[in-house]
Amino acid sequence: MWGLAGLIIIFPLLGLLINLFIGNRLSRKWIGVIACGSVALSCLATIVFAVLFHFNYPAEGSIEANWYQWIVSGSFVVDFGFRIDWLSLVMALTVSFVGFLIHVYSVGYMWEDPGYRRYFIYLNLFMMMMLMLVMANNLGLLFVGWEGVGLCSYLLIGFWFEKHSASEAGKKAFIVNRIGDFGFLLGMLLIYREFGSLNFNVIEANMGEHVASQIILGIALLLFCGAAGKSAQFPLHVWLPDAMEGPTPVSALIHAATMVTAGVYMVSRMGFLYEQSPYALMIVTGIGLFTAFFAATMAVVNKDFKRVLAYSTISQLGYMFAACGAGAYVAAIFHLITHAFFKALLFMGSGSVMHALGGELNIEKMGGVKEKMKWTALTFVIASLAISGIIPFAGFWSKDAILAAVWHKYGPVIWIIGIVTAILTAFYIFRLVFEVFYSERRVEEKTWDHAHESPPAMIRPMMILALFSIIIGFVGLPFKRFNLIERALATVLPVAHGTEVSVANEIILMIIVLAGALFSIYLAFTFYMKKRNYLDTLLASFKKIHHVLINKYFVDEIYHKIIIAPLWYVSDKFLYKIIDVFMIDGSVDGIAHISRGTGKYLRKIQSGNTRSYAFAIVIGMLLIFIYYFWKIHKG
């Protein structure tokens, strides 16, 4: 029965195949129905399996369903198999549900686009790969999904490939991800060498054997390298802001809700390994929190609507890694889920605004959009409250869980970075809210006349997501009895024991976070609504910092200087001029000349007379016989 869990992956594949092979004969409506329907079916299948799993809960907490042996090479065996446990089910549920809503939204968003069918084929392929990633029972199959979503990300970022910047952004995402994947692959090989298998269960079972702690650290860091590439952590974060060149629903689905969280999922999945190495945990938290803060500062000044959201995504992913590093994997996954809902909603809101304003992205040319787009504004505000961590919206509970874990594990100093980032988060997100929706109108008259609320296909998914952004947090209330998510995931993920923060402490921490968020919302309100002239004075006094921030800390420029430019130089001056032109071309041409020269003489042997060929055979035979005679008589 559990083998049928593969259906969760098969449905998007079927949708993809139908649209691929007979999609050109279908109307736009039917293409949309098939694409959305297939994802809806896999969402339903996930729910069915979750219910079945709940009622047939196995003692060991997980079920493996192998379809067949995919790679067999000596002792190296990779199964095509699924693992069903609460972690994979929760992830699959989030992915397929948010994915379904975004599919519906896309029908409205992409309706006019000539690449409508291609778009949905890619999107279904993405769903299939992402679900494969979360359902896989071994690192090998996980890697297939991992690379598959990377491919889809590339295809969808460069969806409007006739635009130069889009195709460049696609390439950038692909190449930066490759760097991470290289680390991941090495990590996998090392795991195979040490544990003899890629299956999660086997690795975990062999964990107790003597493996040097340096090797564990190496594996953990290599895997984290892959996770950092996929989840856009410093220093591999550069691709995500550029990925915003793709269609907005893609940004919502791939670059906010699902794909980029694959890194967090993978680190949580391998949590039992990270637990063995305190240094690795420290590095994960360090990179996570640093990225969270670093990206948040860039989000504060950026003027591009979607890029602000992209930096926000990087920052929130940083939070998740910080939680992983603090041993609070449950909190990381919890934040992953809530983030999927409200960040998808934020992106949908930005897409809705872009749709109305004719593709405008500069927030300085917006303002007052609320008048025309009531529902978009409302849902966007709900999502903003959720991400800022205002009680009782979803983000509050998950962020609080993370900060409490960090406090407990690394103490107040590290915790302060988290708090500052939370405050910055509230600030930049409400900066967007006020700039775009509530401040005085700065939109050009002509665009303004065309502005309109988006079609129901776009608004309704947003409403549903808004509802979930409010209520999803209640599955993880910070009190043991009500913490459903922790009760479910603790069966799979390692839980640090004795980390219960006392109730009083917990409430104090909550109040601090809440106060910080409210304060920065007030700050944003002052700057962007009441006293806009404050802003100019502020800019004038912090000109240098602003310059650094708006240029994204010059990371792209640094990469260009230290990696791309030398590479370019070596390629041009040495590889091209010397190796290629002189050595390779020279030798190839030389060989050609030699063969032509010898051929000119050798062709005379070919008389075309059959008997002369037979004669040659006879001579050959004779020589062989002579050789053997000589050999026999010698020895």
Partner: protein
């Protein structure tokens, strides 16, 4: 009867076949010479098989015979094509492959 008499006979037939290949110019006769050589080799194989009591030799001889039949069938079909093309079968006049 001593074994090597058989070998000598097969050797003589083989050499005759080989010489025939050089002195004849008709394609069909050449094919017959090839058959002669093949049979001589077959006989030699059989003789050695008998000597070492190696029963597989007989099986292989049978296989060789079938392969030879296939070869002759294709060879003769080719001859028909050649004859249609040149209206003769003299091998010295077929030098299309001259380099």
């Amino acid at each position: 009867m001593e074994l090597y008499y058989y070998l000598i006979v097969s050797l003589i037939v083989f050499i005759i076949g080989m010489i025939g290949f050089f002195i004849r110019r008709n394609l069909i006769t050449l094919l017959m010479c090839v058959e002669l050589m093949l049979n001589a080799a077959n006989l030699a194989l059989m003789v050695f098989g008998t000597k070492w009591g190696w029963i597989e030799a007989q099986a292989i001889v049978l296989l060789v015979m079938t392969v030879a039949a296939a070869e002759v069938a294709v060879g003769l079909a080719l001859m028909i094509v050649v004859y249609k093309h040149y209206s003769h079968l003299f091998i010295d006049q077929m030098t299309k492959l001259k380099g």
